[in-house]
């Protein structure tokens, strides 16, 4: 009779080895980490427990190509679902799907973050009869993701492929970290694309990590290696609470060693672009900035930062790219970031330097109103502490989309360089005095327009806005802004969020 204890040891060791000892795996593992090493690197120590280690052993597939463990990251419990690419290319069979859905349900019950370490060639076609059509089938994975969304953090770290239906795992996570030149996601493979529509395209160009982080917007953070992906995951997790029921941890204020003189950074001439990231760096605690979607729609910056130790989500117009104007992609990027921060009680800071939403026939045809409305909707729904700073321009609908005073921020602050108005001087003078300008002799027009513009610019300066008690709470020197924000965020974090009672708003998309 077989010794059952030996049998247990043998089966466990076999399942834990996955396919790492196969000749093919050795080559694949060059420059990549084995699934259990990724988990080990993410966790503080060993996993605390593992479910389903012996799943799939009857059909000779170790752990059915997925590892599900509970462990701690920086002292906080998390659930991990990790594909083993060395086993059947990480594909999903019946037990894989049972393990994944079981862990999703467990993470939700325990109210702990769920991290998907994805590296999978997708569904296993030879198991489709059991897995595709029924009520208990692969599709439950996405059903669960949607149910979980906003209740606990769901992070997807994409180390390798995630094709076809599996691409909706990153699609439904709020944050996707992608390893450059390894991660891919597409609905149809290059071969399928060629068959269906005749297009010749490489896997990298079709669905590579860089494409998704810079062009499609599916990816949020592009990293160079497995190890960097894990480090970034830890930094990101530090900004998140365990669930929507908790607030994120506040850490010690690491201070600001040598802030730049922001008077030298922000040009008074509203036409000149500047890099708003310098302003963000200047108000954030040292080494605390984690940018989200850094390569996508660069005209708006979305970053997690710490201000006086408190995690804050920053949404900032960056005139260095496309004049900082709001486009479809920039509106989408900001809206989703606001939803993310609001879901997990992360206060929001808006830095405005906005000449408006993009206008013109191309923008209108592409649906700038729908996308702009999405941003407005996200801003108006946000109930976390929220501060808006008028850095420079604040015109028209852009002023509202970037959380202007009518959207009820807790505080509206302005730097002395702020210029809040319905429209800028050029547009305004042309609109107000159009008939008069036309009636003037040609030679006198330029001088008249210049004089009127100057008067208008004086009229819309921030001191006029501050004189109206409802426009701004305070005008702040840029070099005092960090201190002002620390004090205000500490105060506003005392407020109780308002919860509106209804099923769901009908979001513009």
């Amino acid at each position: 009779m077989t010794n059952v204890y030996d049998k247990l040891d043998k089966k466990q060791a076999w399942a834990k080895a996955g396919g790492r000892n196969s000749p093919r795996a050795a080559k694949w593992l060059e420059g990549r980490m084995f699934v259990r090493d990724r988990i080990q690197a993410l966790l503080d120590g060993e996993p605390e427990f593992e479910d389903g280690l012996l799943a799939g052993s009857e059909k000779d597939v170790p752990a059915d190509a997925v590892v599900t463990v509970i462990g701690s990251v920086l002292g906080r419990k998390v659930a991990i679902i990790a594909n083993d690419f060395t086993t059947k290319a990480g594909t999903w069979g019946y037990q894989t799907f049972l393990k994944i859905t079981r862990f999703q349900e467990l993470a939700l019950q325990l109210k702990i973050p769920l991290i998907y370490l994805v590296d999978s060639a997708g569904a296993r076609i030879d198991e489709q009869k059991q897995c595709f059509l029924g009520r208990r089938a692969w599709g439950n994975i996405w059903f669960n993701q949607v149910k979980i969304s906003g209740a606990i953090p769901q992070i997807c770290v994409l180390f390798g492929p995630s094709p076809a239906g599996a691409a909706y795992i990153p699609g439904l996570c709020e944050t996707v970290i992608m390893v450059d030149k390894q991660a891919t996601a597409y609905l149809g493979s290059p071969r399928m694309v060629h068959m269906a529509i005749g297009e010749e395209i490489s896997e990298e160009d079709l669905g590579g990590a860089r494409m998704h982080c810079a062009v499609s917007g599916l990816g949020d953070i592009l990293v160079k290696s497995d190890a960097e992906a894990i480090e970034v995951t830890k930094r990101y997790l530090a900004f998140m609470p365990q669930s929507y029921l908790e607030r994120p941890a506040v850490v010690a204020d690491t201070g600001k060693a040598s802030p730049p003189d922001l008077r030298e950074v922000i040009p008074v001439n509203e036409k000149l672009p500047f890099d708003m990231k310098i302003v963000i760096d200047a108000i954030a605690d040292d080494d605390s900035v984690l940018e989200h979607k850094a390569l996508f729609a660069k005209e708006i910056v979305t970053s997690f930062v710490r201000i006086g130790g408190m995690g804050v989500g920053v949404v900032a117009n960056n005139s260095k790219f496309k004049g900082g104007v709001l486009f479809n992609d920039s509106s989408d990027k900001a809206a989703r970031f606001i939803w993310l921060c609001n879901a997990f009680s992360i206060p929001l800071l808006f830095l405005q330097d906005i000449s408006g939403y993009m206008i013109g026939s191309s923008a209108e045809k592409a649906g700038i109103i729908r996308h702009g409305a999405k941003l407005l909707s996200a801003v108006c729904e946000a109930t976390v502490p929220r501060i808006t700073v008028l850095v420079r321009k604040a015109y028209g609908g852009g002023y509202l989309g970037m959380a202007g005073a009518p959207t009820q921020p807790d505080a509206m602050l302005a730097l002395p360089t702020a210029m809040p108005a319905l429209v800028g001087p050029e547009t305004a003078i042309n609109a107000i005095h159009f008939n008069h300008i036309q009636a003037l002799p040609e030679a006198e027009r330029a001088a008249f327009v210049a004089k009127k513009r100057e008067e208008y610019a004086e009229d819309i300066d921030v001191f006029t806005a501050a004189a109206d008690p409802f426009a701004v709470e305070a005008v702040v020197h840029p070099n005092e802004l960090r201190k002002e924000l620390i004090q205000r965020f500490r105060a506003y974090s005392l407020k109780t969020p308002v919860v509106y009672e209804k099923r769901n708003p009908i979001h513009p998309v």
């Binding site: 036409k271 672009p273 004049g323 000449s355 191309s362 923008a363």
Partner: protein
């Protein structure tokens, strides 16, 4: 042929690079005016400017080729 395209709709305010010039990734080749802002257009790869397909004052749409590089 590598090209540099307009990042957004606007008008060509000032061409700052010259034909034949060797440029590097990130160098500004011209400045658009759009939405009352100056929009520097930067090269997204290195090369030599073969020709400009626009002149100062031209109105361009998003994605229009502004210059060709070799």
């Amino acid at each position: 042929m590598k090209t540099i395209k307009s990042p957004m709709a606007g008008s060509v305010w000032k061409i700052v690079a010259t034909v034949g010039q060797e440029i590097d990734y990130g160098d500004t080749i011209l400045i658009l005016e759009s939405m009352k802002m100056e929009i520097p257009v930067e090269a997204d790869s290195a090369g030599r400017i073969v020709k400009f397909l626009v002149a100062e004052g031209d109105v361009v749409d998003d994605g229009v080729v502004l210059a060709e590089l070799a």
